[in-house]
Symmetry: C2
Subunit: 194 residues, 2 copies
Amino acid sequence: MAKLKKSIEKRNALVKATIELVNNNGFHATPMSKIAKMASVSPATIYLYFENKQDLVNQTYVDMKAEYTKYAFETYKESMPVEEGFKLIWKRIADFKLKECESAMFLAQCDNTPMIDESSRQEGIKHLQPLLDLWGRGKKEGIIKPMSDYLLYAYSINPLSFLMISQKRGAFTLDKTHIEEAYEAAWNSIKNCK
Amino acid sequence: MAKLKKSIEKRNALVKATIELVNNNGFHATPMSKIAKMASVSPATIYLYFENKQDLVNQTYVDMKAEYTKYAFETYKESMPVEEGFKLIWKRIADFKLKECESAMFLAQCDNTPMIDESSRQEGIKHLQPLLDLWGRGKKEGIIKPMSDYLLYAYSINPLSFLMISQKRGAFTLDKTHIEEAYEAAWNSIKNCK
DNA sequence: AAAAAAAGAATGAACGTTCATTTTTAAATA
DNA sequence: TATTTAAAAATGAACGTTCATTCTTTTTTT
């Protein structure tokens, strides 16, 4: 239970190394020994902080999901009008995916593979609640299409992951103009056209 | 070089087993021995058809990408008007992701991880050319927003991957109505609003 | 009967994890 | 404050296992 006292910096270094190695080589090609080396730690030390490799990846996922949503909702207030609130959150998310590109890449990889345990995945989803609440409000007010949240997410949020990955692969560069265009496309796809 | 003559059924069984195991367990947890067992073949036999594990996964990826795009463009003709052509291709893609769910899942996993060699990834991209040509035509005619192809893809095609994965995870079910809504959202996000 | 294909068993390397030991930290004592 | 001491944290080497791949033999095909 009480696994605290131990150096939080060491834990962070391990999480960071995990992200970097999994991003670049994939889960299947990131041995614990490399993670340890990159974190300047003995392989045995990893097991003081994490149960095993799966636990390390699970915790890294949940940690990053929390960081991601914390950033996304930091400046949002439930009192905001729907459109303003959505724009704000959307921009924060776009911002995060550009600035904290490593974390975002790792999340994208986890979300599209079976590498994370189902329970950790569920835990990650919980953090998105404020956005779902905002959409619920938007639907009630007739501002947002009365669609499944999955559809709303697929069209207004998820495309950013694809763009981020394309950018990371060097295929193209996501600049300010692109972000504006992307926001328009996102909003157009979920807003209720009168 | 000439690796033909050998049973094509055996090769297909290996590719199919690879897809199923990687989909369910991830690359890191699909040993060659399991692939062999599922394909009812000796582990050594795999090496008559593929150079090594990486080559097996690469070829599986390129094969599935070819199948995917063949299906997507099968009924499309370049003589079609832009909007009609897009709708047709979009529906075929949606159809493929629902019917050939296993292949589509595998492709999604490959596209979001570093598990495929860059050269195979490039080869896979080539197959999308007809869609890019259609978009080029649409932009010239002022029907489609003058955006980067990456943005067009991110908003009009890629969301289907997210929906497919959500469906596969049992989170929700993608029915006929959803597909119609999804098409509207896709078209709204890329069409040029006058 | 020769060649090609397939098989199962064998191999060596790499991996996740643990063990035995040392080093560091912090509390207790003088 | 300086010294001692016990617990906690950290380590490198070792362990047992699993894996991708190869080797040798058998089966199938031509």
